[in-house]
Every structure is written in structure tokens, then in C-alpha cells.
């Protein structure tokens, strides 16, 4: 394998409901830095049905080039179709680095591509860097349930591949003037070649606030004592227009559904304000919220580890402190009357 043949940093552009998934925009930001350091180009790989307009979005967020596979067969994500497109593209244009979002689609696709190439694949990366002269990708990730961080290298194969956690990299500010080159690609593939069919897609009907997009999160833990105690979390969240977060123990106890879970096996969040209430601060929880702007902890145990990781802490019983805090905010924000009228 001649490494000099492999040039450029690529990002798999994931489409979601006709938009570019935000993790792909974040990866274009991170990829831009890597490409600049290596003085090479940044390209997106865009696969879908009717996705031309998304190429422009990739340029506006930092890509120089987009390789596009646009055909009805790519209407839904399927491992076999997407994998074949990516494999063909890699073989033809030989990137040095290829990044995917660590979403269910990105992880599925990357694992399949890595096996066929073959090459190394670093999972769930949270930090990326590249050696300027050798091009060696330094991909760091949590392992052992977040108990340790490890830096993973792939010295002997190209491309070097990684899946990257949503929300940990930063997208560039959008530049609407930007443009780039679209390279249309195709491979011979027909429906008969493909062994899986998507029969139906069912979107969950209950609309919920996406905690990974919320500016304010009020998160509760096992310390609330039970679903009744957890109500104080909902009330503070409603007052602040915040999303409700939870530790894994709360989710496992069935007090709230899984999409509220913050942490290693839940969602990574970066709100401006994060309230951690009755949460001990286990490392698996911390890895999901430690990049929040302002972290406020309320816990009755002054020795709880969460206080090591928060900006402000109140030691006390959440069941008395939180209702007081909620009322204080209602008054300060002029929402007391709405609240008393039962609107909040």
C-alpha cells in the first residue's frame, strides 16, 4: 500500500429527513482543521435520493468538494447500498482520512466499510488531531464505559477511519457565499442485488424536546427518590423552558423514557446551563454533560463527586430546594401568575 496515493480528508454526509445531520456539519468543521494542517482538501461523501441541494450546504460548512451518489436506490439508508457506494468511492479517489458521525447509521456503515477495505476503525471518537508531517490520525475515545480515554492509531492502512460522537466537534460558521465542486458518481446496482428492504418507517408520534439541542437542561437522578419526586424536575424545566435530562438509573427505573438519558450510553449534551439534581456524578454521566456552559449541582451529600465537576453547588434536599428555586425563577421571570393559574 503506497500511502502517497492517499490524499484528502473526507466526511460522510449523513442525510436526515432532507437535511444534513448536524453531526456531519460538526465533522466538516473538524475535518477542515485536519485538512488545513495537512495542506490538503476536504471532501464530503453524499449519498441519497434527490440530495443535490445538500452539496451546497456541505460547501457552506467547509467542504471543497462533494462526491455525490444520487439515485432512488439510496432513498433509505441500507448497509449494502451505502457501503458499496463508499467502497467504490474510496477505491477510486483514495482519501487519507474518512470520518463518520457515531450515529446508528454512521456506525453501521463505517463498520461494514472497514471490514471490506480492510482498514482500522476507531469508534466513538471525542478528540481528533493529525500529525502534520506523517498524516497519522490521532483519534481519542472513551472506553470501559468512560472510565478511561485511549488514543488509537492506524499506522499500516489507509484510509484511517473513525466514527465521531455528535456534539463534541464544532461546526464552522455558515458561509453562504462558499462554493465547491460536485463530482457525480454512480455504481451499477439494482434493487435485485440488495437483500434487505425497508418495508416501513415509523416515526415516534410523541413529540419530545430533543435534549441534544436544548439550551437549558434540568436533569434529575436517583436522588429524587421516585417518579413523584421527579415531578419537581419537570416543574423547574417547564418554568425555564428547559428540556428534562436524567441519569441512567432513573431511565432504568422507568421514571422517564430513554431519550432523556444523558451520558456515555445516552445523549451527549452541550447546553448553556445544566442542572444536575440528585445525580451522583458517575463518570459515565459526566462524559455526556461536562462540556455544558454552566453546571449547577444540587445534592444532599457534600462529598458527591458531581460537585467536583460543577461550577456552582447547593448542598441540600432536592425536594425542598428545587421547588424554592422554581418559585424564585417564576417570580424573577415574571411567570408567577401564569404558574399560579396552572399554565406552567
Amino acid at each position: 500500500m503506497n500511502f502517497d496515493d492517499y490524499r484528502g480528508v473526507w466526511v460522510f454526509i449523513e442525510e436526515k429527513d432532507g437535511h444534513v445531520a448536524s453531526v456531519s456539519l460538526e465533522l466538516l468543521g473538524a475535518g477542515r482543521q485536519l485538512a488545513d494542517k495537512r495542506k490538503t482538501e476536504l471532501a464530503g461523501v453524499l449519498i441519497g435520493d434527490n440530495v443535490q441541494s445538500l452539496a451546497q450546504i456541505a460547501f457552506e460548512y467547509g467542504a471543497d468538494k462533494v462526491y455525490m451518489y444520487d439515485a432512488p436506490i439510496y432513498r433509505y439508508y441500507r448497509t449494502e447500498t451505502f457501503m458499496r457506494a463508499v467502497l467504490a468511492c474510496v477505491e477510486k479517489h483514495k482519501p487519507e482520512i474518512l470520518l463518520y458521525g457515531a450515529t446508528s447509521t454512521g456506525k453501521d456503515l463505517a463498520s461494514a466499510v472497514a471490514t471490506d477495505l480492510p482498514t482500522g476503525l476507531t469508534a466513538d471518537t471525542t478528540q481528533l488531531d493529525v500529525e502534520e508531517d506523517t498524516g497519522l490520525l490521532l483519534a481519542s475515545r472513551p472506553a470501559f464505559g468512560g472510565n478511561i480515554m485511549a488514543t488509537i492509531l492506524c499506522k499500516k492502512y489507509r484510509p484511517q477511519m473513525a466514527t465521531v460522537r455528535p456534539k463534541v466537534m464544532k461546526a464552522l460558521p455558515r458561509n453562504k457565499e462558499a462554493s465547491g465542486v460536485v463530482i457525480e458518481e454512480s455504481i451499477p446496482i439494482t434493487e435485485e442485488d440488495i437483500r434487505t428492504k425497508v418495508l416501513e418507517i415509523v416515526r415516534s408520534t410523541t413529540q419530545h424536546v430533543r435534549i441534544d439541542e436544548a439550551d437549558v437542561i434540568v436533569a434529575g437522578g436517583k436522588g429524587l427518590g421516585g417518579p413523584a419526586g421527579f415531578q419537581v424536575i419537570h416543574r423547574l424545566a417547564e418554568t425555564l423552558g428547559a428540556a428534562v435530562g436524567a441519569s441512567r438509573d432513573v431511565v432504568e427505573a422507568g421514571w422517564v423514557p430513554h431519550h432523556h438519558q444523558v451520558g456515555q450510553t445516552g445523549v451527549t449534551v452541550t447546553p448553556k446551563i445544566y442542572f444536575a439534581i440528585g445525580i451522583s456524578g458517575a463518570i459515565q454521566h459526566l462524559v455526556g454533560m461536562q462540556n455544558s456552559g454552566l453546571i449547577i449541582a444540587i445534592n444532599k451529600d457534600p462529598a458527591a463527586p458531581i460537585f467536583q465537576s460543577s461550577h456552582y453547588g447547593i448542598v441540600g434536599d432536592a425536594l425542598t430546594i428545587v421547588p424554592m428555586l422554581t418559585e424564585a425563577f417564576q417570580i424573577a421571570l415574571g411567570r408567577k401568575e401564569e404558574a399560579d393559574a396552572g399554565k406552567i
Binding site: S104, A123, Q290, A328
Partner: protein, 279 residues
């Protein structure tokens, strides 16, 4: 007869793991080895499918000799047979080398014991937690990989297809795939009940089939273990935690006032809480 193989791994219980603060390494002795929790759901699902359709459930692991305990745990859950590949040559495998070794064992099971209709893996492990081994095996055996499966609607061996639900970030999709294929399953696919007494008794005496590298056919030794692993773990460190801030002081009322002062007097924070219209 439907033959399902669940791939399972013994892992250190990361809930109990302690880090050595001096060397920044994991104190493995502090962590008891357990069956990867996600894999117990894989085995349970295999057992449920056997109850629905008849057939045989095998489990397969690659690991050091003590991993026999994880196999016994699967027999407790209801698996029929256990296979283990163990050899120093497997040590240090990343996901590519792991899926290679497991594939060789699966090929041996399929050709010498009975053909395989379905492979079930856990969504991920709690130590490496990459989730990459399942899709890797599927690619090597040229089976469709179906990740994030949280419901099996139907397995039709006679007509050669399976229908499952795959969990999406905001719902699920219904997929039909040809058999044989591979599922990686989510935890919410089932609940693993307590073991029954007969299964426990059988598990206690159960001896799995154990193979070394030399027992596997057509094996390319350069693809095994550390040598066959493109990724290398170059350094390991304890994750840094955000710096501890300050504990507020005074009566609860005073502390709450101090908090409000912080939130409401910083423009950005104020906008964040004042802009909201309820969740």
C-alpha cells in the same frame, strides 16, 4: 431446523472498575468478569426464537480460559451448546481481527456441526464498546448486517427471510432481509428472566467445545490478534473532569438568590431561560 448462534463476550464489570490514580491505568483486579450485559439479551432473544420456531441455540466466544464462566451463564439463560476459541494468538485483537477469528469459528460450526441461519450479537460491549464486531462478522460471511434490532417480527426459514424492527433515533423501521443474516440487538428487545433450576444445574456442569487456532480451518495467522489489528491503542489516560466550582453558602434562600444572580445577570444565560416557552 433453525440454528441460531449468539456471539458473547466476557467483560470486566465497568461499574466496579477503579482507576489507579498514580499510573492512570485500570485496576483489573478490582473488576469481576461478567457476561457482557448486551449479550445476555442476544442469548435470550435466541432462546425465545427457538421457543417460537424450534431449533438449536449455540453461543460462541473468543476469550481467555476463564470466559467459560460467561458460556455457563448463557446455558443458564437457556442456550443449548457453547463454543469457545481461546489461544494466545488471539490476544490484542481489535474489532477487525476479532471478527476474523470469530468468522473462522462460525464457519467451522456451520460446516462441521450444523448450518447457521441466524447470528445474534449484542449492540456493543461495555469494555471496548465499539459495536463494530457484529457488522464485521456479517460482512465477512456476506450476510446482511441488521444493527439496532429491537423486535423480531418473523423468522421464516422455509421461505428464507426475517422481518425485524430497527431502532432509529426517532422511531423505528421495519426491515425484511434474506436469511441467513446477522442481528445486533438493543437492550430493550427483551427482559432476561431469572434462570430456571434445571438450566442452572445444567450450566454448573457444562463443558463447552474449546478450540485453539490449530483447530480452525484455512486460517491466515497474520490476520489474528495484535498482528492482524490495524488499530493500536497508543496511550491510555483517565478522562479529565471539569474543575470543581464552588459550593454556595448561607441559608437555602440566600443560596438560591446567589444562583439567580449568576443566571439572570449574564446575558447569554438570561436569554436561554427567559426565551423558553415551556417544554
Amino acid at each position: 431446523m433453525l440454528h441460531i448462534v449468539a456471539c458473547i463476550k466476557q467483560v470486566p464489570d465497568t461499574k466496579i472498575i477503579k482507576m489507579n490514580p498514580k499510573t492512570n491505568t485500570m485496576d483489573r483486579s478490582s473488576a469481576p468478569a461478567i457476561l457482557n450485559p448486551y449479550d445476555s439479551h442476544a442469548v435470550e432473544e435466541a432462546v425465545r426464537l427457538r421457543e417460537r420456531y424450534g431449533g438449536v441455540v449455540s453461543v460462541l466466544t473468543m476469550g481467555p480460559p476463564p470466559a467459560v464462566k460467561a458460556i455457563r451463564k448463557c446455558i443458564e439463560i437457556g442456550a443449548d451448546e457453547g463454543y469457545m476459541i481461546t489461544d494466545r494468538a488471539f490476544a490484542g485483537a481489535d474489532t477487525l481481527a476479532t471478527s476474523y477469528a470469530l468468522t473462522k469459528a462460525l464457519e467451522k460450526i456451520a460446516s462441521e456441526v450444523r448450518p447457521i441461519d441466524l447470528i445474534i450479537c449484542g449492540k456493543m460491549t461495555i469494555d471496548g464498546d465499539t459495536g463494530q464486531v457484529g457488522p464485521g462478522i456479517a460482512r465477512r460471511l456476506d450476510m446482511p448486517p441488521l444493527t439496532s434490532v429491537n423486535k423480531v417480527v418473523e423468522i421464516n426459514r422455509a421461505e428464507g427471510y426475517a422481518i425485524v424492527h430497527r431502532k432509529l433515533e426517532d422511531g423505528y423501521e421495519v426491515i425484511r432481509s434474506t436469511l441467513p443474516c446477522l442481528f445486533s440487538v438493543e437492550k430493550d428487545i427483551n427482559e432476561v428472566p431469572y434462570s430456571t433450576l434445571p438450566n442452572m444445574l445444567r450450566a454448573a456442569r457444562y463443558q463447552p467445545h474449546v478450540w485453539a487456532v490449530s483447530d480452525l480451518n484455512d486460517i491466515d495467522k497474520t490476520q489474528l490478534g495484535l498482528k492482524g489489528s490495524p488499530t493500536i491503542v497508543s496511550s491510555v489516560w483517565a478522562p479529565q473532569k471539569p474543575q470543581g466550582g464552588k459550593l454556595l453558602e448561607g441559608t437555602p434562600e440566600e443560596q438560591i438568590q446567589q444562583l439567580l444572580d449568576v443566571v439572570l445577570t449574564r446575558r447569554e444565560l438570561f436569554d436561554a431561560v427567559a426565551g423558553g416557552e415551556g417544554s
